[in-house]
Amino acid sequence: MGTSAIACEGLCKRFGKATALGGLDLAVPEGAVYGLLGPNGAGKTTAVRVLATLLRPDSGHARVAGFDVARQAAQVRARIGLAGQNAAVDEILSGRQNLVMFGRLYHLPIGAARRRADELLAQFALTEAAGEPVRQYSGGMRRRLDLAASFIVAPRVLFLDEPTAGLDPHGRNEVWQTIRTLAGGGTTVLLTTQYLDEADQLADAIAVIAAGRVVAEGTPGDLKSLAGGDRIDVVLRDAGDLVPAARLLQARFRADVRLDNDSRELSVPVTGRLATLTEIIRSLQDENITAEDITVRRPTLDEAFLYLTGQQPPSSGTAAPAPASPSSLPR
């Protein structure tokens, strides 16, 4: 890999009193799909706007595809694609008219622009709706058209700012599929998201950002370990045993035991998996507390996110997928 497709150091940007970027450092290797994960207001959009030459940082440097975003903006622009937070396509024109227009603005000759538009329409499963005005497209189709427009010149670096925000699960799946295809062609992708499972699904590496700084970086697996190692979940038969059992284990392991009344479940962070497992079983037996189920598991990305950003992961609203259940309790 060697060279970085995106490299930035100490990027700072303030808007009045709000600090959008507080010293952002990133190094994204060529060909990677890199996830920028952070809660609302973390500075994701500001970072993308700086890297896509749309916004000047107050301080710091950034290079994209080998060119400085401030001093060589034209060279950067010739090598990037951008799909912003909302689908930036013309609603009145048809899908094909949009792509031909953007192609011409990349200075493809008219014939080449038309051919490229048809190619992309086919690649993004929009051929059937190509002549319809975009106003009539579904949310997922609009997003796909937006992605197609950002991919006209097969850019070296593609910026996708919350590409599935506001989509239903079906639309989200379509867009994920599209992004995987684009990434397969060797383009470096920087993708921002508030959704852990989206980063997990698409990205090779993730930077978690909060207040405009990277608070953790690594593969999805690395981040899970950062959240504090493995956990053991114990489901009890009687809800009445929960509190005494939690006290017992808390004293026994000097660890922060979480309990959930609805699922009659305790969750204990552990270091040595098997040794702790046998200890827990023995301690509970000694107190005549019956466990229905015991699982050893790695922490979820939700827990990692919570731990790293100090914030609740975004709740599963209409667009957000429900976080995977950590419990092995049959429902």
Binding site: L54, A74, R77, A87, A88, V89, I92, Y106, I152, A154
Partner: protein, 276 residues
């Protein structure tokens, strides 16, 4: 596959590059008209035509023009100018919608000439206004209005009207790029277009106004263009001798140039530094 466009090197090719970009942007608007002809007619033409009919036929009989002359002849240049005023709202709405929906950002992230997006917008709006002016002239001719002082002066009058529109294009672009985050501001600006007309001379002669209003109305840039157009068409001017009405043609050139000198650089600056 890589299609990386090579940015142009020489000044000449850079200029050609910018013109192509601007033309593509202009064509986008032409394609809008082709897709929604009804909206174009409703937005830019319906209102002035209705006003001509309403004032000219329903109310016109009751209106007298100080210094003599037919009210319908007095009104036509005013309606031409009002059509130019309504253009501010059209420009503002188009520019702010693009900025709010991220289309402007997409353009700014592409290897386009910086000035091309707003230049293309300006060209499209000028074509639109020229077409509107042509249709309105046709309507005027049908209701019996016609220029009295020859074709050259009539063309000069139309040119002054378009010059005013050109100044309003830059005003609209600037306002659109400034207030796009605030839909109420955009609506407010569009609602204010009509009162701006009443603070000038398109509908009534300045000499009939109370003193405070006539002071405002005289110095309204719109009034200079309307007065100049009335003089050049040979329509009744609603006699109001004052320095500014005596130099109406001069002021109809000076006002728009001043507006352009202010709003063109501001628009370009806003475009370059568009923040979300």
């Amino acid at each position: 596959m890589t299609l990386t466009p090579a940015p142009p090197g020489t000044l000449h090719s850079r200029l050609a590059w910018a013109i192509t970009d601007a033309w593509v942007i202009t064509c986008r608007d032409l394609a809008h008209w082709a897709r929604q002809p009804g909206a174009v007619i409703a937005n830019t033409l319906l209102f002035p035509i209705l006003i001509v009919l309403m004032f000219g036929y329903l109310l016109g009989g009751a209106m007298t023009v100080p210094g003599g002359g037919d009210y319908r002849d007095f009104l036509m240049p005013g309606m031409f100018a009002m059509t130019m005023v309504f253009g501010i709202g059209a420009t503002l709405a188009a520019v702010s919608a693009d900025a709010a929906r991220g289309i402007t950002d997409r353009f700014r992230s592409m290897p386009m000439a910086t000035s091309a997006v707003i230049a293309g917008r300006a060209a499209a709006d000028m074509l639109n206004s020229a077409a509107a002016l042509a249709v309105l002239t046709g309507c005027g001719l049908m209701v019996g209005w016609h220029p009295h002082r020859g074709a050259t002066r009539a063309v000069a009058a139309l040119a002054l009207l378009l010059l005013l529109r050109f100044a309003f294009v830059w005003t609209g672009i600037y306002l659109g790029l400034t207030y796009y985050r605030n839909p109420e501001a955009v609506t407010a600006a569009r609602t204010l277009e009509f009162p701006v007309g009443f603070l000038g001379n398109p509908f009534v002669a300045i000499s009939t106004m109370p003193a405070w209003l006539s002071a405002i109305a005289q110095w309204n840039p719109l009034s200079s263009t309307v007065s100049a157009a009335r003089q050049l068409f040979g329509d009744p001017t609603g006699s109001h001798p004052s320095w500014i009405t005596d130099h109406a043609v001069l002021m109809a050139v000076a006002w728009p140039l001043l507006l352009i000198a202010v709003f063109f650089p501001l628009s370009l600056h806003r475009y370059r530094h568009l923040s979300r």
